[in-house]
């Protein structure tokens, strides 16, 4: 019994010790209490009394948010002034929204319910949405602003250059630069900060008023710093200013994304190609589910994206995405944009204007001029000038800006090709139900593509759509001898486009087919078969007609 008494005594003492220790470490010495104590001692003495050490949280029931970030980041809690410059206790940087309006995790990710640093930042296993890294913080705007309107990249850059050149920054601060620092009372003036001028209502007649001021002033900054701006420059400046919503990196990144043709293969929000994965929510992917075996450095979503941009097939074995040869700066921006592609579910009452405009009123977040549409959807495959691209290990993407091609391709041909794509090949169907492009947009693209070829267009064709009446067997032999090496034995395509393609054969006239064979396409590997050559025989008109007949033979079987 003595032994039992000892066992009882020592385990009881041990248990009491554990209970006391747990109570102490979890309630007195826990992280956020210690931090709040440190904050309190850093406050000026007169404020210390009023500061209570308690759990702080921002609760927004409609968003299912209970964010306790402000228990440690006390400076950002509602009602606290914070300590400027401090690592943890600094107040929230000046942003468009009130941080306590939505909570923290809606914009920053992470685990709001946690009160321990690692868990709260979401960098622990089994939390699918880690915090967005600080340098990409504005990517969180994409959670709600899913259809943020951005201008064409070239116009954006041009507008930015013009704002610099016309010295608007002499009086106006913009994205943290510029503006005057004249102390009050010394005759200076400062214009309003323009960083958010695109998000808020502003006077659209500003230019007229600026001019009037200039006329009225005899001396001073209105005379010296402001000069009239000619019309096309003014339009670019206005577009640039309209894009200033307090998230400059985000706008730039999105504009870049929409100039590289990524949506040619990737759909976002139902608009885009289907060759690659849908990217609508790619910024919300769980890094714990990704394969990091080929990704050096930290195991974060941003790191994975960046490496994937550098070498897609290395990170995703068997990937159909080519290595695009992007610069590091571009990769940084594209990573930024991808991180902003998030779409958590929340009530419509919280939807911002851009999302309502897009979803309810069918407005586009990208500009719908030809250059932007082409840059958004076509440039990655067909090249920025429509010159076609040859990526290693893939069949060639045709040069649709080739003048010889455009001289034969009618608008209807181009329209049908864009609308229905090339089934079975890499060209997606872009019609409204498939790729999501509207008829007006397709029309714009047709015009732009034609412009890429210098305006070459087919003349009127006196012959009907189907006039070829050659001999199919002759055509088959000739095809096998001359065409199969590039276009495939069954017309399935190889180096050259697929000819046994339902949409091609439906939209191409016999003239188109025959003339293409006859003239070739200069600048591509399609030779002119009616021209003399040391390496192959010339094809006569009748032989070309037979080949066309042979191609038409595939029209039934490819249906």
């Amino acid at each position: 019994m003595r032994a039992n008494k000892h066992l009882l005594l020592w385990t009881s003492l041990g248990t009491l010790l554990f209970l006391g220790w747990a109570a102490y470490t979890e309630n007195v010495q826990n992280e956020w209490r210690q931090l709040q104590r440190a904050y309190r001692s850093a406050l000026p003495p007169e404020q210390r009394e009023a500061f209570r050490i308690e759990l702080r949280q921002i609760v927004v029931p409609a968003l299912h948010v209970s964010d306790r970030c402000v228990s440690c980041h006390v400076g950002m809690a509602p009602g606290e002034a914070g300590l400027r410059g401090h690592r943890t206790f600094a107040p929230h940087p000046d942003v468009v929204h009130d941080p306590s309006g939505f909570g923290c995790t809606v914009c920053h990710g992470g685990q709001g319910r946690a009160t321990v640093k690692g868990d709260a930042h979401g960098t622990v296993p089994h939390w699918p949405e880690p915090q967005i890294p600080r340098r990409y913080a504005h990517a969180g705007c994409g959670s709600c602003h899913t259809h943020l309107e951005v201008p064409n990249l070239a116009i954006l850059g041009h507008g930015r250059d013009l704002v610099e050149r016309y010295d608007c920054l002499a009086c106006h601060s913009l994205d943290g630069r510029g503006g005057t620092l004249r102390p009050a009372g010394t005759g200076g003036m400062a214009g309003p900060d323009l960083s958010r001028v695109g998000a808020t209502a502003h006077d659209r007649g500003w230019y007229g008023k600026h001019l009037a001021q200039r006329e009225a002033a005899q001396v001073g900054p209105w005379r010296d710093s402001f000069a009239p701006v000619p019309e096309p420059d003014l339009a670019a400046i206005v577009e640039f200013l309209d894009s200033r919503v307090g998230a400059p990196g985000l706008v730039e990144a999105k504009a870049l994304f929409h100039s590289l043709g990524c949506r040619g293969c990737h759909s976002i929000g139902g608009v885009g190609g289907d060759d690659g994965p849908d990217l609508t929510r790619v910024g919300q992917r769980d890094p714990g589910q990704l394969d990091f075996s080929s990704v050096p450095g930290e195991r974060s979503l941003a790191g994975w994206f960046a490496e994937h941009f550098r070498a897609p097939a290395k990170v995703v074995p068997g990937s159909a995405m080519p290595a695009l040869g992007l610069s590091d700066a571009q990769i940084e921006q594209l990573t930024f944009h991808l991180l902003s592609l998030r779409r958590p579910e929340f009530p419509e009452a919280f939807w911002p204007r851009d999302r309502i405009r897009a979803v309810r009123f069918d407005e586009r977040e990208f500009a719908v001029d030809g250059a932007t549409l082409y840059g958004t959807f076509c440039a990655a495959c067909h090249g920025p000038q429509g010159q076609g691209i040859r990526y290693a290990g893939m069949s060639v993407f045709p040069a649709i800006g080739n003048p010889d091609f455009l001289a034969l391709a009618s608008d209807e041909f181009l329209r049908q090709t864009i609308h229905s794509g090339r089934p079975g090949r890499r060209m997606p169907a872009w019609g409204e139900k498939t790729g999501g492009l509207r008829p007006s947009e397709i029309e714009t693209l047709v015009g732009f593509v034609r412009g890429l070829g210098g305006g070459a267009a087919p003349g009127p064709d006196p012959r009907p759509g189907r006039w070829a009446a050659g001999e199919p067997e002759l055509g088959a032999r000739l095809y096998a001898a001359n065409c199969a090496s590039c276009h495939g034995e069954r017309g399935q395509g190889n180096e050259g486009p697929a000819l046994a393609n339902r949409v091609l054969l439906a939209s191409a006239t016999d003239t188109y087919l025959a003339e293409t064979v006859r003239r070739g396409r200069r600048g591509t590997t399609m030779p002119a078969f009616s021209a003399p050559s040391p390496v192959r025989g010339m094809l006569s008109e009748a032989e070309i007609e037979s080949i066309v007949t042979h191609l038409r033979g595939w029209q039934e079987s490819s249906r």
């Binding site: 747990a22 009160t115 089994h126 990091f292």
Partner: protein, 513 residues
């Protein structure tokens, strides 16, 4: 107190004496300073009077029981206390459950600790009840007159596993959701047989069981509420009832099992005052009109000591050691919590709780056999042990009976070899469908590693019965084989099975992330 003193004086004296009198009226028999008072202390107390007034010294030995029964009870008590505390904050609805667990972990003062204790005490309880069952078996504590208490113990084992399983779903994370999906599909496994016999259309016990469990076709809000109700109300009430019967039977059966020559084995009493030698003619406070004798009549109390303090200190020591261990674990090891349950993202591998992983390993070969067939055979087989082994040789002693400890060692080795051999064949070469892709399902239901192993163990047991001419020897062999098999299968299911239930030598080799 002089009655002749004035009333006011008496009042004053009464007031002063009130605290002492309060204590005296609370403990009517006073401090336990004599044997009579010690006995009264126990049987006059509503909380303690389930205990006997005197306990045999053999029952108090650590080597006899290792305190496993009380340890199970202690673990249960811990889960009850911490469970009630958790109920203040836990919300049993899919939208709220996971977040409420997060709040308990991060915000509720000492919530992390309480939740960890609850999880660890639950796991400790499963371990101790299994060890307790092994102890009761190896000391042949199921023999006459304790057969029915052994059956009650089996029921308690089932309810304990039920409690652990129902609790597993409540956090509503990926671990919980998919483990219970597996469990519900195992409940549906009779379809393996009814499908093969084309009976499912009009006789579908599998589907019925799954519906009963989940209240719907998939794990959802209905299942959560159902499991919550089972976990906090129905199964605890069940376990309380069964425990009442279990403890009552211990008293009525005459205390814990001990060998007939327990006195000789113990030797003289040391350090305790000499016990009296007369056998009582009747037990305490036995009504004169009742016929028959209780277990204590006719047996001298030579080897007994007062329950207060000996038994009570022993029990308190076990209670505190169990508490200490659970708190130690809880302080340093967090209860797991994975991502929020997501029906679109199955865990791969989706694993049942550890105590069912051995079964899941068998289920991988045949859902019906592994999930229903073999567990039924095991439970019924275990329940039958007291009725098949009615010998008296070796009661109360560890590994008592023909063969003894050596037989147990041999059986353990045999059991290990058999299970490792069957598993090695199944893992290395596959099973019937590898060579005969169109093998009928019923053939595989009948012949799979689980049934083969059961048959091997059964044959071995029958061999032992004949060799030692003793049912006890057969039981010793069979039970030991069962333990070995359970252990190895659980270890394989835990450590060596990865995605798609394929065999890997280590989790580091799993494909994917």
């Amino acid at each position: 107190m002089s009655a002749s003193a004035p009333a006011l004086t008496r009042f004053g004296r009464n007031l002063v004496a009130a605290p002492r009198r309060f204590v005296e009226t609370m403990f009517r028999s006073g401090a336990p300073t004599s044997d009579r008072k010690r006995a009264t202390f126990v049987f006059g107390n509503v909380f303690l009077h389930l205990h006997p007034a005197r306990t045999h010294r053999w029952s108090l030995r650590w080597a006899t029981t290792w305190g496993l029964g009380i340890a199970s009870f202690a673990a249960l008590g811990l889960t009850l206390v911490t469970g009630v505390l958790l109920m203040f904050y836990y919300k049993p609805y899919p939208d709220a459950a996971y977040d409420s667990i997060k709040d308990i972990h991060f915000v509720v003062p000492t919530g992390r600790f309480i939740r960890n204790i609850h999880r660890w005490a639950g796991n400790v309880m499963v371990v101790t009840v299994i060890l307790h069952m092994a102890r009761a078996f190896y000391t042949a504590a199921y023999r006459r007159p304790r057969e029915f208490n052994w059956v009650v113990g089996m029921l308690l084992l089932v309810v304990t596993l039920g409690l652990a399983f129902t609790g597993y779903l409540l956090p509503w994370d990926q671990l919980a959701y998919w483990a219970i999906t597996i469990g519900a599909n195992i409940a549906q496994s009779p379809r393996e047989v009814t499908d093969a016999l084309a009976m499912t259309g009009w006789f579908d016990p599998g589907g019925f069981q799954k519906l009963l469990l989940l209240g719907a076709d998939t794990v959802g809000a209905e299942a959560l509420i159902r499991f919550y109700l089972l976990h906090v109300m129905i199964l605890p009430l069940g376990i309380a009832l069964l425990l009442a019967v279990h403890f009552w039977r211990i008293r009525k059966d005459g205390g814990l099992t001990r060998p007939d020559d327990a006195e000789q084995r113990l030797g003289p009493t040391r350090g305790v005052y000499p016990v009296f030698r007369e056998a009582p003619q009747r037990t305490y406070q036995l009504a004169a009109l009742v016929r028959g004798k209780t277990a204590a009549v006719g047996r001298g109390p030579e080897g007994t000591v007062p329950a207060m303090p000996h038994l009570l200190y022993a029990e308190l020591a076990v209670l505190m050691v169990t508490t200490f261990v659970c708190l130690l674990l809880a302080l340093f090891l967090d209860a797991p919590l994975k991502e929020l349950a997501n029906a679109a993202v199955p865990e791969n591998p989706a694993k049942a709780p550890w105590y069912f992983l051995g079964l899941q390993e068998l289920v991988a070969f045949s859902a019906f056999m592994g999930g229903i067939g073999i567990p039924s055979i095991v439970v019924i087989g275990l329940a039958l042990i007291p009725y098949l082994d009615r010998e008296t040789d070796g009661t109360g002693v560890w590994f008592g009976g023909p063969g003894g400890g050596r037989l147990v060692l041999t059986s353990a080795a045999f059991g290990l070899a058999a299970v490792l051999g069957v598993e090695a064949i199944a893992i290395r070469f596959g099973w019937i469908r590898e060579w005969w892709p169109h093998a009928p399902q019923l053939l595989i239901t009948a012949i799979n590693p689980g049934t083969v192993l059961t048959a091997i163990y059964g044959a071995y047991s029958i061999y032992l019965v004949r060799r030692y001419d003793s049912t006890r020897a057969g039981a010793l062999g069979l039970f030991t084989c069962f333990l070995a098999g359970f252990l190895v299968l659980t270890v394989i299911g835990t450590h060596f099975r990865g995605p798609n239930w394929e065999f890997f030598w280590s989790p580091a080799q799993w494909p994917g992330h």
